[in-house]
Symmetry: C2
Subunit: 373 residues, 2 copies
């Protein structure tokens, strides 16, 4: 389902095409985050206008609300939010393991309390697959054990072994549920863990390769460790990765870091930065066209006093269906909207930033094709 197209001569960067049950996607690509079935402030119509062929949602959050009974009756998430493109669902493992309070791990799965009402819940790797089958995701993620750091090497090794056993069970459940699934063309990705320990990362990857997945994700990076550490991990295990499978860097990153990870062989990204920063009044902008130089972008903090009478437009270049709308408004107007707490400000900034990230990926692909990355 993944077709490698071009590999850079200067780096591990590559272009390709990932086929999903809801359309083909050029790699490398970025996924806007629709945690609860909506990218904050935007409709699926808006995401289409932005031109994204895929979005990411969250298994744990959708499981709690609207719940799988409603999800089933509504025909899955594609129908529920009327999204015609592809959907990848994060397993929710990261969210569950981040929960405060009672959280018990066992061979069978994880028991925890809902962040909404404290209700006691449990999720096994099989449950996680069943939920994603009900959601109808195009790309499902296995439930993994996210160990709280700092942890001893022994603790990490144990967690990895359990993650591997869970990954095997996930794959079995995934195969078992294919025939009856609303989206039988779905794919399953494994998640490589192991923190910044190269030895553990390699062991984790090897375990997953033995089981065999449609793609391989890197979890537990971009969680606060130095940027160089993530690069080091990717460089060290890149040779062990399969060329013909897509590689997904979970939860990252800043625009220049995305370029760096692409150069280390990554094909897929998701990140809250463009949308979260938008809601705090920070907007991304290209400074020049050469994404191989780290100063290719800037971040404007539009709540700053200096923008109060700026007649500069939110965007000046044209490359998506939201441009007609966005090019009408000034930085001064955007600042005003944030000052008076109008959510339109968050919405316009969200459109600007997602448009930036999506265009960034296009420029990265072009650079790889032109041999400059």
């Amino acid at each position: 389902m993944f077709k490698l197209e071009k590999t850079s001569k200067q780096s591990q960067a590559r272009t390709g095409e990932l086929q999903t049950a809801h359309g083909s996607i050029q790699t490398p690509f970025f996924m806007p985050i629709a945690t609860r079935g909506a990218v904050k402030t935007l409709s699926s119509f808006d995401i289409e206008r932005l031109g994204s062929p895929i979005l990411l949602s969250n298994t744990y959050h959708l499981w709690l609300r609207p719940g799988m009974e409603v999800m089933k009756r509504m025909g899955g998430l594609h129908a529920f939010m009327d999204w015609k493109g592809a959907i990848l669902t994060d397993s929710g493992g990261f969210q569950i393991f981040s929960l405060e309070g009672l959280r018990k791990l066992s061979e069978s799965g994880v028991t925890f309390q809902s962040h909404i009402d404290g209700q006691k819940l449990s999720m096994s790797p099989e449950d996680c697959i069943d939920i994603q089958r009900t959601i109808g995701s195009d790309i499902c993620m296995v439930l993994d054990v996210c160990t709280k750091l700092p942890a001893t090497k022994e603790q990490l090794t144990e967690a990895l072994a359990l993650t591997e056993r869970w990954a095997k069970r996930s794959k079995e459940q995934f195969e078992k549920t294919r025939a009856t699934a609303i989206n039988p063309g779905a794919q399953l990705f494994g998640i490589v863990q192991g923190g910044t320990d190269i030895d553990l990362r390699k062991r984790s990857l090897e375990g997953l390769l033995k089981i065999g997945f449609d793609g391989y994700a890197f979890g537990g990076l971009s969680v606060g460790e130095p940027f160089e550490d993530a690069c080091h991990v990717l460089e060290a295990i890149e040779p062990a990765m399969l060329k013909e499978k897509p590689r997904y860097f979970m939860g990252g990153a800043k625009p220049d870091e995305i370029v760096a990870y692409v150069k280390r062989g990554i094909d897929m990204f998701d990140c809250v930065l463009p949308t979260r920063n938008a809601r705090h009044g920070s907007v991304y902008r290209f400074v020049h066209d050469d994404v191989s130089k780290p100063d290719f972008f800037e971040v404007l903090h539009v709540t700053n006093e200096k923008y109060k009478d700026s007649e500069e437009r939110l965007i000046t270049d044209q490359y998506s269906d939201v441009d007609e709308e966005l090019s009408r408004y000034t930085l001064g107007y955007l600042r005003h909207l944030f000052t008076v707490h109008e959510v339109l400000g968050m919405r316009l900034a969200t459109l600007v930033n997602l448009r930036f990230y999506l265009e960034l990926m296009k420029r990265i692909r072009r650079s790889i094709e032109e041999g400059t990355l």
Copy 2:
């Protein structure tokens, strides 16, 4: 600037056309409210898609933020929010007189504390005109005295006399500033006060007629009094109103009440109900086509459990440029968005409700033309 077209034989309802410096508007019409330079959750692009030729903003709020220095440098509100249609600005009198704490009324104007930072401010009727000139409104409103109820007849009479003297000064300032205004084609409306006292209302109207305005508004109605009282006031003073001037009912009303006020000769409306109710999960919908019958609409409270798996669409009929987007989503999805506090829910409901109010006005106009209202 107002051209009366058809008057009903069964009621005082009338159709006409109001010419403004930013386009002609068929009457009766409804104005979406953009208090701080944005209809909550919507851009001016969205208002265009909804098909409204006019919106309403607020002098007091814009005066405080972004302030008139910024407003002047940005070229007025039309340029600031990139709105090509007409703008009516409420004087802000209602907001100022609603402020808690220190608020002192004198012959010259009103002194009060900003609701944002407690700063001591003052506004004279002349200031109010100057501010609206800077905003570049197409329809300016005079600053009026809004007396807190209950009040004695003596207090109300005094307030009316002061309102009349302020109206006269407003008119003079409006004429004096025409030549240098960024929008010299602007109009000025007087505001009829007097509560539910017919005698006071008549005196107020007579005073304003002597000064002469481009239109006449009714303030202090739809503020909690029985609906019948407002109807009674309008019926009693309708014969004294000029046929050839537009009549504006400020701050109201529910859909069936709007029909009732149109039947009593009103041409213009603004109301927070469609947008505020939208933000609380209530959406308006037509039940049948005959707006002369009060049961022509219903209000759905989509946060209700019963909508959780409703596959019914937000809209089923087609009449605006937002229909393509709105017809994609179900009541079940909208309920989910409210349940998980996604502002997209507020936005979709706001579009649905404004679309309803704008279509209501079209149906009212059609009914008057067809002689059924």
